[in-house]
C-alpha cells in the first residue's frame, strides 16, 4: 500500500478517513442499554483478587483516607446517616460495603471511586427536589461500582494502549523495511484509539444510568425522577447560558466522556417505563428529603447565589418553587439580583425582599435587606421598623450594634 502514489491529498484523506472511521466505530450516538440486562457484577463483601484491581484498591485506600479527613466535608451526622441509608437502599448487593461522603462544593456532581466510596457534592442536594432524585444519582454511582466500571475501563485503556503501541511499532518497522512513510496511518490509528476510549467511557455511563433506573424502581422510587433530574439540569444550563448570551454546550461530542444530557434524559424516560411495574406504588419521599436537608438548605442557597451565575440561580430557585414559594426562596431570589448589581437590579431586589417578608418563614436577613432598601428609597420610618424586626429576630447578629445605631 502506498498513499503517495495514488495521488490523494494525504491530509484530506487523513481528515476524511478519521471522521469516517470515527462515525463508523466510535460514533457519538449510542444505543440505549436496557435495565433488564444490567446484572450486578459484584456480590456482598466484594474484595479484589486480580493483581491490577488489588493495586488500584490499595491506591484508593490512601485516597479515601485523604477524602475522609478533608476539611471540605460536611460532617452533620444526621445528614450523613441519611445519605448512608440511601446508598444502603439502592446499593444492590453492595449496600453494606459502600461509604458516602458529602463535600461542600456548590456544584451538580457525585463521584464513585473504584473501591466503593462515593463523594456527593453539596450542590447536588440543592438541586434535587425529592429523595427519589437524590437516590437516582446515588443509584447511578452505585451502578459504576456494581458493574465494576473503573477496573473495566482501566483494562480497556490498557488493552487498547498495548495494541496501539505494538501496532504502531510493527507498522513503523514494516514501513521502514518497505521504505514507505506510515506516519499518517499511525496518526489515524491514534485518533481511533483515543475516540474508542471516550466511547467506552460513554458506554459505561449509559450502563450506570440503566443500572440506576433498575435499582431505583426495585426499591420503590419512581424511576422517572432520574429523567426529571436531567430535564432540570438541561433547563438550568440553558438558563445560565441565556443569561450570558451564550448557548448551552449540548454535549454529544466524539471526545465526551459522558453521553449528551438530552440523550441521557430520553433514554432514561424509556428505561423508567420499562422498569415500572403497573399496579405497584412508587413514592418519591419528598417530605423526608426536605426534612433531611433542612439544616443546610440555607447554606446551599447561599453558596449558589454567591456563584454569581444569575441565570442558573434564578432557574434553580424557580424549580424549587414549583413545590411552593416560601420566604427563603423569595429572599434568595432577591439576593440573586442584589449580587448581580446591574442597572435597576437594586429595585428588583427591593421588591423581592418586600415579597419575602410577607411569608412567616422569611429569614432574618430578608428583614435586614428589606429595611435597608426602604431607607435607601427614602422611606425612613418603614425601614426602621423592618430593621427593628431584624434585630428582634436576630439580636446577636454580627452587625447588630451598627443597625441599632442606625435606627436609634
Amino acid at each position: 500500500m502506498c498513499w503517495r502514489c495514488t495521488g490523494f491529498d494525504r491530509r484530506a484523506l487523513l481528515v476524511g478517513g478519521g471522521v469516517a472511521a470515527a462515525s463508523l466505530t466510535t460514533g457519538a450516538a449510542l444505543a440505549r442499554i436496557r435495565p433488564a440486562d444490567m446484572q450486578p457484577l459484584v456480590g456482598p463483601g466484594f474484595r479484589p483478587t486480580d493483581t491490577d484491581e488489588i493495586g488500584l484498591w490499595q491506591q484508593m485506600q490512601r485516597v479515601e483516607e485523604e477524602v475522609s479527613g478533608s476539611n471540605l466535608l460536611i460532617k452533620d451526622p444526621a445528614l450523613i446517616r441519611y445519605l448512608q441509608d440511601i446508598i444502603g437502599t439502592v446499593g444492590g448487593p453492595a449496600t453494606k460495603d459502600m461509604r458516602i461522603y458529602l463535600a461542600h462544593i456548590p456544584d451538580f456532581n457525585a463521584v464513585m471511586f473504584p473501591s466503593g466510596f462515593a463523594v456527593v457534592f453539596s450542590g447536588l442536594l440543592l438541586r434535587m427536589r425529592n429523595e427519589a432524585q437524590l437516590a437516582g444519582v446515588i443509584a447511578h454511582e452505585s451502578g459504576h461500582f456494581l458493574r465494576r466500571h473503573m477496573i473495566r475501563s482501566w483494562r480497556d485503556t490498557k488493552r487498547k494502549g498495548d495494541i496501539f503501541a505494538i501496532g504502531s511499532m510493527a507498522l513503523g518497522v514494516a514501513g521502514g523495511a518497505a521504505d514507505v512513510y506510515m506516519g499518517d496511518i499511525q496518526q489515524l490509528a491514534e485518533l481511533g484509539t483515543i475516540l474508542s476510549l471516550f466511547r467506552y467511557s460513554r458506554e459505561m455511563e449509559a450502563e450506570a444510568d440503566a443500572m440506576g433506573a433498575r435499582l431505583l424502581a426495585q426499591n420503590g422510587y419512581p424511576a422517572i425522577e432520574m429523567a426529571n433530574t436531567w430535564e432540570q439540569l438541561i433547563g438550568e444550563e440553558d438558563a445560565s447560558a441565556r443569561h450570558r448570551r451564550k448557548r448551552r454546550d449540548r454535549g454529544g461530542s466524539l471526545f465526551a466522556t459522558h453521553p449528551a444530557p438530552g440523550a441521557r434524559m430520553a433514554d432514561l424516560k424509556v428505561s423508567a417505563a420499562e422498569v415500572t411495574v403497573p399496579g405497584r406504588t412508587y413514592d418519591s419521599r419528598r417530605a423526608s428529603y426536605l426534612q433531611a436537608i433542612a439544616p443546610i438548605r440555607t447554606m446551599l442557597l447561599d453558596d449558589q447565589v454567591k456563584l454569581n451565575d444569575p441565570g442558573a440561580s434564578q432557574y434553580l430557585i424557580e424549580t424549587l418553587a414549583r413545590d411552593g414559594w416560601n420566604g427563603f426562596l423569595r429572599y434568595y431570589e432577591a439576593e440573586v439580583w442584589r449580587l448581580r448589581n446591574r442597572q435597576g437590579d437594586d429595585v428588583r431586589a427591593a421588591q423581592g425582599y418586600a415579597v419575602a417578608v410577607q411569608y412567616p418563614d422569611a429569614p432574618p436577613d430578608a428583614w435586614r435587606w428589606h429595611g435597608l432598601s426602604l431607607i435607601k428609597a427614602g422611606r425612613q420610618a418603614e425601614g426602621r421598623a423592618a430593621l427593628s424586626r431584624y434585630l428582634a429576630l436576630q439580636p446577636n447578629a454580627p452587625d447588630a450594634p451598627f443597625i441599632r445605631q442606625m435606627i436609634s
Binding site: D52, Q58, G161, A170, V173
Partner: protein
C-alpha cells in the same frame, strides 16, 4: 541514511543508559544533623508500578508493600549509622499527644510547600525574591507545635516511586532497536525508572531546611538503575537521597558575604 539513523540512536541512547540525577537545596545556615538528634520520619509515601506494553503505570500492591518495608528498614539502618534516634511512622495515629488530624494537616501543608519548592527551585519558575537565599521555605507554627508535643528535633518527609517495565514493553523496545537496521529507529521508548524526593523540616523553627530530588532511570525500556523491591535497591535509593546531605552555603563558605 540508515547508518546515520543508527548513529543517531547511539548518541541518544548512550547518555541515557545510565542516568541518576540528584539535586539538593538547603537553608543557607543548614548543618546536617549529626550525633545525638531525634528524627521523626513521617509515613513514607511509596508506590511501585508495573509499566504496561502501551506505557501505562499499573500500581502493584505487593511490590509497593515490599518496597515500603525495605525502604523503612534501609532508612532506619542509615540513620542509626549517623547516630540519630529515629522513629518511623507507619500510621498517622502513632504519636502520643498528637492527633491524627494534626499529622494529616502537616502532611498536606508539606505537600503544598513541596509543590512550591518543586515549581520554583526545580521546574524553572525561579523567583527573583528567593535568589541566592538557598531554601527559604517554612511550615510555620504547626511544625513547631509538632516538635514541642512530640519532642523530636527534625521531621523527614519522603516520597518514592519506582516503575518496573513489563516484559511486553521490553519486547517492544527490542523490536524498536531491531527496527534501526531497516531504518525505523525507536531506541528509547522509556517508561521505567525511579523518582523520589525528601524534605527535612527543623521542628525547632518549622523551616524546611533541606530538600533533595532523585531521578534514576534510562530511556531504554528494560535497563534499570535500581529496584526498590529489593533490600539492596532500597538501601541504594536511601543512600542517593539522604547519603550526601550538604551543609548550607553560609556554612560551606563562611567568609563569603552575599
Amino acid at each position: 541514511m540508515r547508518l546515520r539513523c543508527i548513529a543517531l540512536a547511539l548518541v541518544l541512547a548512550v547518555p541515557a543508559t545510565g542516568c541518576v540525577q540528584t539535586r539538593q537545596y538547603a537553608d543557607l545556615q543548614f548543618t546536617p544533623p549529626q550525633g545525638d538528634y531525634r528524627l521523626l520520619v513521617m509515613r513514607p509515601d511509596v508506590t511501585v508500578n508495573s509499566v504496561t506494553t502501551g506505557g501505562m503505570n499499573q500500581p502493584r500492591a505487593d511490590w509497593t508493600e515490599q518496597a515500603r518495608t525495605n525502604l523503612i528498614a534501609a532508612l532506619a539502618a542509615q540513620q542509626a549509622e549517623r547516630g540519630g534516634k529515629v522513629k518511623i511512622l507507619a500510621h498517622r495515629n502513632e504519636l502520643p499527644g498528637v492527633s491524627e488530624e494534626e499529622v494529616a494537616d502537616l502532611e498536606r501543608l508539606l505537600a503544598a510547600v513541596g509543590n512550591s519548592i518543586a515549581l520554583h527551585k526545580y521546574l524553572g519558575a525561579y523567583l527573583p525574591s528567593k535568589n541566592r537565599r538557598g531554601l527559604d521555605y517554612t511550615l510555620g507554627e504547626d511544625a513547631v507545635a509538632l516538635g514541642r508535643k512530640s519532642g523530636y528535633d527534625y521531621a523527614l518527609f519522603m516520597y518514592a516511586e519506582d516503575s518496573i517495565v513489563s516484559g511486553g514493553r521490553v519486547a517492544l523496545q527490542v523490536l524498536g532497536m531491531a527496527g534501526c537496521i531497516v531504518g525505523f529507529c525507536a531506541p528509547n521508548i522509556g517508561g521505567g525508572g525511579q523518582f523520589a524526593y525528601a524534605s527535612l523540616v527543623d521542628l525547632k523553627t518549622g523551616d524546611v531546611v533541606w530538600f533533595n530530588v532523585v531521578q534514576a532511570g534510562s530511556q531504554i525500556a528494560g535497563i534499570k538503575m535500581g529496584d526498590l523491591r529489593t533490600p539492596q535497591g532500597s538501601a541504594q535509593l536511601v543512600e542517593r537521597l539522604l547519603g550526601r546531605m550538604k551543609p548550607g552555603y553560609a556554612i560551606r563558605h563562611p567568609n563569603v558575604r552575599r
